[in-house]
């Protein structure tokens, strides 16, 4: 069974800090995604990656960057955290192409910026 693990369930940081959210998947999936979830807005795509060292912007990349040095790990970076980045962050992975499989999600990291 596919396992997507997000390193922290809850995280509290201060304004201006550099914040790292980590995501690891154990199924050798090529594609990985970071979403942000806010009430009334659903899930919005921040960044995604098709392979190691490859990344593409999603719909709301401002204020974020990502790193994918190894295939199984996809990190989301808040360069200088701000209060409007308080949110739930979800990571997902999927085998590339259309293999009749859905995206698999982690349990999320609830991030609070004070």
């Amino acid at each position: 069974d596919v396992k997507v693990t997000q390193s922290s369930r809850y995280l509290v940081k201060r304004t201006g800090e550099k914040v790292f959210l980590e995501c690891v998947q154990d199924m050798d999936h090529e594609n990985m995604f970071w979403y942000r979830q806010d009430p009334g807005l659903g899930l919005r795509l921040i960044y995604f990656s098709y392979d190691v060292k490859m990344k593409e912007k999603g719909d709301i990349p401002e204020g974020y960057s990502v790193s994918r040095e190894k295939k199984e790990r996809f990190s989301l970076i808040l360069e200088s955290a701000s209060t409007n980045q308080t949110s739930m962050y979800l990571c997902a992975s999927i085998e590339s192409g259309h293999s009749n499989q859905p995206q698999h999600f982690g349990d999320g990291t609830r991030l609070s910026i004070l």
């Binding site: 997507v4 999600f105 982690g106």
Partner: protein, 115 residues
């Protein structure tokens, strides 16, 4: 740009009653269609998906969804709701080609079940 609309933000049903959650999409061609469920404090779990073929799709936990091309809809149904179905439900679409497996989500429907 493609979009997904879930017109009901909140729905309350009594346990044992039937349920229908609405989802409409706007896209040039029929995309892949998904329903996910999120229990409090959890990630998203796939309920069912439509890729092609039979337009009535069966999923887990007794849920089903019907794809209607003419209405650009993919509504989720359950004949008899259980208290444990209380959660948030998300409809999502993925383009058939060139989308890189990217999903576009609706804004979600929060389901409350009255005992």
């Amino acid at each position: 740009a493609q979009s997904v609309t879930q017109p009901d933000i909140h729905i309350t049903v009594s346990e044992g009653a039937s349920l229908e959650l609405r989802c409409n999409y706007s896209y040039g061609a029929t995309p892949y269609l998904f329903w996910y469920v999120q229990s409090p404090g959890q990630g998203l779990q796939l309920l069912l998906k439509y890729f092609s073929g039979d337009t009535l799709v069966q999923g887990i936990k007794g849920f089903e969804a019907e794809f209607k091309r003419s209405q650009s809809s993919f509504n989720l149904r359950k004949p008899s709701v259980h208290w444990s179905d209380a959660a948030e439900y998300f409809c999502a679409v993925e383009p058939l080609t060139g989308g890189g497996n990217k999903l576009t989500f609706g804004t979600g429907t929060q389901l409350k079940v009255e005992l």
